[in-house]
Subunit: 138 residues, 4 copies
Amino acid sequence: MNPVEERVTRSFRSQGLMATLGAELALVASGEVRIAVPFSTHLSQQHGYVHAGAITSVVDSACGYAALTVAPPDCDVVTAEFKINFLRPAIGDRFLAIGKVENAGKLLTVCSGEVRAFAGSSYKVIAIMQATIVNVRA
Amino acid sequence: MNPVEERVTRSFRSQGLMATLGAELALVASGEVRIAVPFSTHLSQQHGYVHAGAITSVVDSACGYAALTVAPPDCDVVTAEFKINFLRPAIGDRFLAIGKVENAGKLLTVCSGEVRAFAGSSYKVIAIMQATIVNVRA
Amino acid sequence: MNPVEERVTRSFRSQGLMATLGAELALVASGEVRIAVPFSTHLSQQHGYVHAGAITSVVDSACGYAALTVAPPDCDVVTAEFKINFLRPAIGDRFLAIGKVENAGKLLTVCSGEVRAFAGSSYKVIAIMQATIVNVRA
Amino acid sequence: MNPVEERVTRSFRSQGLMATLGAELALVASGEVRIAVPFSTHLSQQHGYVHAGAITSVVDSACGYAALTVAPPDCDVVTAEFKINFLRPAIGDRFLAIGKVENAGKLLTVCSGEVRAFAGSSYKVIAIMQATIVNVRA
């Protein structure tokens, strides 16, 4: 692992919520991070699909870590805000959240996020996010 | 319990994610729902505070259920989208998410959300949300 | 006028767009700014009501100036992002946009905005905004 | 012009605000609409750049008309809400707003928007939008 992968991986593993959700890092590249989460009833909403909050949690993390891959080495990142649209119910056997850096300023990084719901090897995009992340001195 | 409280309570209890997060209904009134969640390390982010995703999940549910309290009896509700700003780190021993209806149209309900972090009996607002919820025929 | 009112007023008057829209400052107080705009056909959308973009422009300015009233004296402000919900059509003879500071951090100020459409002396809220404004060294 | 182009063009020309801003339709295709606006001092903010509100107005219109290109023939569209991030100051001699349909449901259409600032033939993306548009019976 290169230093950025190491940094993201170490931080990810220290997030209690990601373990609680059963989420795993699927890709760490410069400006892009992917997080996978399998379907589980303990993530459900009232109809048995995955709760929007669980979907949001993993794509928020994917965006935050994407921002971290381009942050100055002496900075940590904090999510200032995000907006998410849910395009269809979160039905699938696994989900992949993709966070990508759209613009990295000195202070603020803007990311876009996407969540894919897989049934076997085909997928549908179920949510899209636009997020603002702040660099803070660690 | 009146029919609306019953409806919200029954739906809330069928959400696997709310149980996983340790969240509980604190208030169900017409146009306002409150959900409480105690601090737990299994909700943490990398610094040990509560993860933005967990905070978001409970206030999303509070807004959705607030919308449900004013929805036509034959309609269920689905979150179309929301936006959330995080004002300060989620540090506290318990958290209270408040969802309120700002405007209820025939089709769309707009809610505002707020999350309070408590240290003993005093609190700080740590996040504010603006959400759009759709009425769908059940 | 106190120094903050002066600063906001001077900046407002240098905005070509506010003059183009026919907008005027209605209040400058610490943490709150109000901007009024009368109905005009040159602001219309296809049905003859005021265009969402015109409504958004004035409430964006109201939020930005509200943030400026609490910014350090050596800082200017820039809107990083906002989200706006349109609750009903912009029908009225005049409109009042209100921007309020919800939280002022060292770097980021979070504001809420509201737009009221007046028919005579009664009004309806037609839009609500949540905005993030950055302090930048002038 | 095909019927969709005709419909969008007719609606666009009836928007007083688009004429006020000096905006023009640059492309109408199924699922994508582009609107161009030249720099003008009557659109400026306090530093002489184009005001965020003017930028927002044209990309909001581009998203709304993109949604209209895929709406049922008996439906009009209304913007329910949007969120926009400003990536850098609106400096340029002309601006191009692009609205694209990300997902078209029966009731709600989700669009993404982008605004490019041109200096000669090269451009920078200065803003990105995520918008929710509602189909309403005309």
